[in-house]
Every structure is written in C-alpha cells, then in structure tokens.
Amino acid sequence: MSTSTTDRPATGGRGTPPTGEKHRTPVRHGWPARHERLTAGGFLAPAVLLVSLLLLAPFVWTVHRSFFADTRTSPFSWFDNYTRFASDPALTRSIQNTLLWVAGTVVLPFVLGLAIACMTDATRFSRLARLCVVLPYALSGSAVAVVWNFMLTTDGAVNQVLTAVNLDSFAQGWLLTWPGNTVVMIIANAWQATGVAVILFLVGLQSIPPETLEAGSLDGAGAWQQFRHIILPQLRPVSIIVIGMSLVNGLKSFDLIWVLTQGGPGRATETLAVSMYNETFLELRPGAGAAIAVVLTVIVLAASWLYLRRQLDVKGG
C-alpha cells in the first residue's frame, strides 16, 4: 500500500508537510484523499457501529418508549410518564435520595480520600494503612452490601456492640427510617469508594515537586499554609477527576441499595436508578421506567458536562 497512517499530512493540511514527504502536496485531491478517508472510516466503523448499536439505539428506543402509556395497547401519552415526577411521592423521595447520594458520594470520598492520602503519604506504616483503605475498593458493591447488611440490621453487629457497651438508647433500626437509612448507606458506599480517591490523591501528591514545598518552608510557611497554598492548588487536576467520578457514581448508585434494602421499606431508600428498575421490572410499567431513565441520563450528562466543561476550561486556560 502506498498510503498508510504513518505518512499522513499534518492535520488541517496547511503549513510544512511532515519530514520526508516533501514530494507530496499538503492537500491531496482525488483518489488518494478519498482512499484515505475510506481507510479512516473503516477504522472508525467498528467503534461507531458498536456505540450506535449498544448505546445510542437503546437510548433512542428508551426515549421513544417513555412517551407511551403502560396499558395493554400502549397508546401515545405525551408527557404523562414525566408528569408522575410531580405527582408520585415515591419519585419525589427518589429525587431527594439521589441528591443526598450525590452530595454524600462527592463530599465523603473527596474529604476522606484527601485526608487519608496526606496522612499516609510519608508515615512509617503508610503502605499498610493505604492497603487497609484501598482494599474495600477491590470488593464488588454486592459483597460490600452483604457485609454492611450483617452490621446494620436491627439485630446486627452495630446494635449488638452498642448494647454490649450499655449504649442501648443509640441502638435502632438503621435501615428502617428515612433519612437515616439513606445516610448509613452513603457511609457504607464511602467506605468502599474512598480507596480509589486515596490512590488518585497519592499519585497527585507524589507528582508535586519537593522544591515548591522547600521554597514555601524557607519563606516561613507553616504546615497548614503549605497545604492550603502549595499542595492543594497542585492537586487540582486530581481533584477534578475524583469529584467528577464521584458525581457520576452518586447519580447511578444502585447495587448497594438493591442488596441492602431493595429501595424499601416502602420505597423510602430508592434513588432514580432503583426507581427505574422498580417501575420497569417490578411494577411492570416500562413507560414510566423509561421516563425515569431519560431524566436520569439527562441529569448525569448535564452534571458531568457542566462540571467538566468548567473545570477543564480553567485547567486548560
């Protein structure tokens, strides 16, 4: 083959041609250019096809389904499935829980991850400490839920310990009353998710040039001032990633909730992802489930786009 990916002209076709290709014109016309586009298209096609088939087509179908009722004949119902967000208390509670999850999964892993990374970065037992924190991240969400279920049920380990140390008054049904049940599940999730934040922050900490800290130290900056004005600004790229990941994880939280409470009791702990499953597969309302899926997708995309656009612009700038 005369044309390969290694002898393409520079992007845009303007300016100096690549070294060793001075005999070629910067912009080619006719068969070679078309051939090159076809080759590029050929390489792109499998990925585009797979994404279209497995992601975009189901999404379009889901949007389409959300405009049809859940009766036997499934007539077109305009926005009826979407208006349930205003009228169904279970969905209102689901949105509240989703917001709680987002706040919790962003704040807790970020704060705890940063604190643990800073504290274990230079200590003697840092490797062991890090391992202990990171280990839960290797567990599946369902396994974590089973362990926490053992602890949080009314006759579970937490209440037994409280009773053993004469703190019976604090013993309660941790998974039974809202918003406490959602809060304890967020804590369980943070226990697992903090590990990855720690890893990322450690990578960030190790990439900070020691000279900057030495310079700060020579200028008389204390530990807090060094952290606030030297370390933290340099951890900004890592922080963006940690918060971005936590944001999306919070919005799509499902497995832990499903195993611990199945969204109950009385749909009190459902998030939008759980409501979507519940409406579609348990209440047998695929149209309502599709509407929740669309709303959740829009929220995830909007939140991710708004956050990343702002943060990455600042970074890029």
Binding site: T153, T154, L176, G264, P265, G266, A268, L282
Partner: protein, 437 residues
C-alpha cells in the same frame, strides 16, 4: 537470530496483520456462537424441560420425573434461574420465541392471567376436566388458574399459610397451640413476658409484607377479603381497618420482630427459642427439617384462629402452577407430563420431597404436621382463599406491598396506609378493566 532493520520493518506489519486477522476471526467465532441456538431448551428424547425459579427443587423434579417417565415415557429436566425477577423477564420473553421450555413454573391468580393474556400459553381445560373427574384436584382451585373461562395451569403443590411454633418452648411455658383468638393473645403475652418475640414479621425482600395483612384480614372477615381482592370492596372499609389496627397493636406491644428480620433465619430463630411463632407457607416445613427440627417433636403448626368465634374459618392456600408454552419444543411430551403430574405415584414422591401438601387431595403428606393441617382444613371445612400476592392485578399488589412495608417500618399510620392502598386500587383496577375491554 538478529534481524536487520529492513527485516524488522517487513515482519512487523505482517505480525500485526496476523494478529488483527486472528482477532477478527476470534470475534467472528464468538459472534457466531452467540447467535447460534443454544441446546438448553431444545427437544431431548425422553425428556421435558421445565423452567424453575427455585434451584433447591431440582432434585425433587428429577425424582418426580422418574415416576412420570414410568407413566408417560418422559422425565423432567429442570432449568433453574433462582432470581425471581430475572426469571419472570426470561420466561415472558422466551414464551414468544421458539426457545421456550416445555413446562414453565408460574404463579397462579392474576400473575397467570397476565401471562395468559399476552398469549403463548396452551389451553389446559381438558386436562383439568380429566383431573376433576378422577378427583385428583379440588374444583375450587380452577378459578385461580383460569383466564376467560379457560384453564392455563395445573397446580404444582398446595401450601397453606400457618403459624409454625416451637414445641419445646411452648411445653416449657405450659402453652399449647391456640384454638381461638383469646388463647392466641395469651400465648403472645406469655412469650413476651419470657423475653421471646411472639411473632416473626418481615418485609425484607418486599413480598413478606403481605403475610400478616392477608392473614389478619381473612381472620377478621374472609368474605370481605374475597371482595377486596376482586376490587369489589374498599381498603378503607371496616374489616381492613380492624385488621390493620390489630397488626398495629401487635407491633406497639413489641410482639413482632423488627421488619428487617430476614425470614430465612426463621427456622433457626424458632429452634433457638428467640421467636415464638413464624407465619409462613407450609413449604417452610422443608426449611424446618434443614434446621434440624423434627416435625411434631420440635415444631408444630396451626392456622391462625379467627378474631371472633362466629367468623367463618378460612385458610390462605398458595399454589404454583405448571403451564405449557404453545411453542414448546416438545409440546406433546409436555402435555403428556402435565396430564400425569397429579397421578398419586408422582405426587407421593413430590410431596415427600417438599414435605408439603400435594395439590391432589387423595395424597396425604408424610410430614405429620402438614398431614394434621390437611385434616384440619377438611374437618373444619375451611374456606380456601387465594394468596394476596396472586389475588389482584400485579401492579396493584406490588405497589400495595411497598405500602405495607412502609407501614411495618413505622412510616405511615394504618389509616394512611389503607387510604394509599385504596387510591392505588382504584387506578389499577380501572387500568386492568380498561385493558380487558
């Protein structure tokens, strides 16, 4: 061998192409394999496949299948999917395809009506008529498996909702199985005084939340229950309110376990003496044996007494069914097997395996506790009532079960719970009737 630069540059693309060609071939093989018809549901000589959502029953199906084979020439080949939700999705989807199994285990009542309404099931009315003529099935059960006058299911077993109790604990506290409401309350008071939680009640997993509701409503007024589940009475009517008040009172007195108590731990709790009575289906007898308890020695069972002595006696009966997909790979073999399923030799083996009550009234359970309950149901002429889970349209039941779970967790009062249930009932019954029209 060291290669020159030229050799390297010539061999690298070749290796890459080989790699790409290999990867493409591998992907093609995988894709072809994925598209190929699996053989799990295809016809196998001498066998009928059965979709099943309880893997612990596989041995029982095989044992009963060996008896069936003597009669029909076809054994049973169970294909289990233990996740109920996933099982329901798979069955509903495969019914419309050529990959349906020969027999499908399903629930009776409105769960079956919904499946029959979607089409794809075989009319088993003739099989029912034959069974009725032989006296191998109770005629009262036909409504629960019928849709628009045609029967689509053959009962798989017949379980009753009863209260299991620990005989050693009752003996120690000088208690006996209560015969009326007053004695039941006395048992609960004595158990509570001795730091034993009188009743197991749970909403873990969702559906158990219906158990005390259905039991108390039927023991307040069984005729009202029939009207309620048929959409002809209101959840805010007096009998429902009375039942919920009793339940609420039991909870306030600390007579119920915490709602997040897992039912799977019920037999163990009964054995350990931490719980006095466990409301559940008689199929739980198998679990009692697994926990090392002997029927009649370590545990007994009784049907909850009526709240008033004048109230007609009733029992909640639950029966799974066999259905035959119209597109079953071995349709004739499947029909032959459902036609012989209730034959006494097959039911003898099946009932012994389950340690539960057979759907064939001529077959007595070998478990003395269950056999005693069978005698009680016949002697007292108890009104058989369909379980709440199958008694109304599925969307209504699912929503109301969630509400009952919320009530158990103390989120809503009895009145608010019933009001919500009634609001949903109005909507869902209207939707069901609209669909039927």
């Amino acid at each position: 061998m060291s290669a020159s630069g030229r050799t390297r540059s010539a061999s690298a693309p070749l290796a890459r192409r080989r790699f790409l060609a290999g990867a493409a071939a591998g992907a093609a093989v995988l894709t072809a394999g994925g598209c190929a018809r699996g053989d799990s549901t295809s016809a196998q000589p001498g066998n009928t496949s059965i979709s099943n959502d309880n893997a612990t029953w596989d041995d029982g199906y095989r044992a009963a299948g060996r008896e069936l084979e003597k009669i029909t020439g076809y054994a049973l080949r169970p294909l289990s999917n233990p996740s109920v939700t996933s099982y329901q999705q798979v069955v509903q989807m495969t019914l419309q395809t050529s990959k349906a199994t020969d027999l499908v285990k399903w629930a009776s009542g409105y769960q079956l009506k919904r499946l029959a309404r979607a089409g794809g099931l075989t009319d088993l009315s003739d099989v029912w008529s034959t069974y009725q003529a032989k006296g191998w099935v109770r005629g009262t059960g036909r409504d629960a498996v019928s849709y628009r006058g045609k029967a689509y299911g053959i009962p798989l077993y017949e379980s009753y909702y009863v209260l299991f109790y620990s005989k050693p604990v009752f003996r120690k506290l000088k208690l006996s199985a209560p015969r009326d409401w007053g004695e039941l309350l006395h048992c609960a008071e004595v158990l509570k005084r001795n730091k034993i939680t009188p009743f197991l009640a749970s909403q873990t997993g969702g559906w158990p939340a219906i158990e005390w509701f259905q039991e108390l409503v039927t023991k307040v007024d069984p005729h009202f229950y029939r009207k309620l589940v048929a959409g002809k009475a209101s959840y805010t009517d007096d009998p429902a309110r009375r039942a919920m008040d009793i339940w609420h009172d039991f909870m306030r007195r600390g007579w119920m376990t915490s709602p997040d108590f897992d039912q799977a731990r019920g037999p163990g709790a009964l054995k350990a003496g931490t719980v006095g009575m466990f409301l559940h289906g008689t199929w739980q007898a198998q679990g009692m044996t697994a926990a090392g308890m002997k029927p009649g020695v370590d545990y007994g069972a009784f049907i909850l007494p009526t709240v008033r002595s004048t109230t007609p006696k009733s029992v909640i009966a639950e029966s799974g069914v066999f259905t035959v997909p119209a597109r079953a790979a071995s349709h004739d073999a499947a029909l032959a097997n459902v036609g012989a399923w209730l034959a006494p030799p097959v039911q003898r083996v099946w009932s012994d395996f389950l340690q539960d009550s057979s759907a064939n009234p001529t077959v007595r359970s070998n478990n003395p506790v269950v056999a005693g309950l069978q005698r009680d149901v016949t002697r007292e002429r108890r009104l058989p009532l369909i379980r709440y889970w199958e008694a109304s349209p599925p969307s209504l039941i699912q929503g109301n079960t969630n509400d009952l779970g919320g009530f158990m967790a103390g989120q809503t009062s009895p009145a608010t719970t019933l009001r919500r249930m009634q609001e949903r009932a109005q909507d869902e019954w209207a939707a069901w009737r609209r669909d039927e029209a």
